[in-house]
Amino acid sequence: MSDRALAVVRAGALTTVQDLGRPGHAHLGVPRSGALDQPAAALVNRLVGNPPGAAVLETTLNGCALRPRSEVTVAVGGAPCPVAVDGRPAPWGVPVRIPADALLEVGAAVSGVRSYVAVSGGVTVEPVLGSRSTDLLSGLGPPPLTDGTVLPLGRPARPHARVDVVPQPRPPVELVLRVTLGPRADWFTPEAVAAFASRTFRVSSASNRIGLRTEGPALDRALSGELPSEGMVLGAVQVPPDGRPVVFLADHPTTGGYPVIAVVRAADLPAAAQAVPGTPVRFVAVRGR
């Protein structure tokens, strides 16, 4: 392997390779995948001089540790966390130079769930259907990182950004998700639709890249029976038989048979990716544009 490589010293709870995903294959049953917090992934790529489609690492709650085999520039963003290079504190959210064979430690998230690590040149594992993203539902793309994994890196395209401070949104204390009701709101009782759009739910610890699960009032159906399988979109709020809404995230199944009560605005999904279990969630119905 060339010296443009990154050794994984500590993989963390769940660290995956992510880029813009592989939209356009839903008719074959292929989820779109891609970074859950797309603005954070795009920002760290810009900071290190990568194009927007370069693959980054997405950590989950407890970070990771990496050792580049050559000098690289990295930027860590998304969920705020301590960063250290060879044991010395380094800044979060700006480009940082890492000497060859130095240890980059991305610590546990202080708030939020997912930190993003961009490395100059990007992670260049073999793409599958045009994307390097790990898809946890269907198993496409590279498997989640394990200790000792060595990832190939590309050649840096441009110099890193010259910045001192970059504002980034804070992970949500309360998650407010704007939704457009439907397409299957009529499968629920008027009381259930009213409760959905007014009551407070909480983020469940069973949430993952496939969906943000919630706990709260169960939503009763007006119609019983089975809905024939139908296409599902990113942000769809599906309600399984237990009545607890699930917000579909990047690795969601492309078809499903539970009714979708509403769809979350795409602009609100990055915050959903950063909501820790227990965070209060409110769904606010807005008119379709």
């Binding site: 939209p23 356009g24 294959h25 839903a26 008719h27 074959l28 049953g29 292929v30 599958v128 259907l129 269907s138 198993g139 496409l140 457009t180 439907g182 397409p183 299957r184 024939p228 399988s229 139908e230 296409g231 599902m232 979109v233 942000g235 769809a236 199944p253 492309t254 078809t255 979708v260 769809v263 979350v264 605005r265 795409a266 379709g288 544009r289």
Partner: protein
Amino acid sequence: MRVLPVGDEALLVEVSSGEAAQALHAELLRRRAAGTLTVREIVPAARTVLLDGLRDPSGLADRLVTWKIPPVPPRAEDAIEIPVRYDGPDLPDVAALWGVPVEEVPRIHAAADFRVAFCGFAPGFGYLTGLPDRYDVPRRATPRTTVPAGSVALAGPYTGVYPRSSPGGWQLIGTTDSVLWDHARVPAALLTPGARVRFVPQEFVPQEFVPQESVPQEFLPQESVPQERP
């Protein structure tokens, strides 16, 4: 036809039957190929087609209801042939549900002309229609925790082939060596919505007619070899 808005950039078009959904899907593909429809995803399903990644969903919704949808066009290309060993553990149950002797199930199944109505569940998993309505079967009451890759299975009006080992509740009637999904292959999916499919029973040599002593192990019928899959 009912057109339901889905969020800000998608439409779910609901029609009255699976055939109508396949006809609508074919028409949407035709319009996209002709350059008169710009859309990121066209996802057919049982009674619907989802259009995702639209610039002006409400404008399209108004136009859609005025379209004349021709019936499903006959496919010019040959059917994809899937060789099957009809050796599934649920053959007796399916035979009982159909009210036919077990040996009739492969004959009936292989005689049907299938079409991929839609895909989902896993990359490369197609929901195939083509059996007459009277052969609909329920899912198994208790799903299996593992269904081997290549299993040919029935549920409701559909036939499906498991692209990889996974849990599943469908009735298993056979196995195939066809590779349903290979992301290193172009195209990765063997079955795509709208494709025609036929299941071809593999030569079955009844064991009592095989002089066992003289035949090397590898020529014995596959049914005698337990399938070990990842």
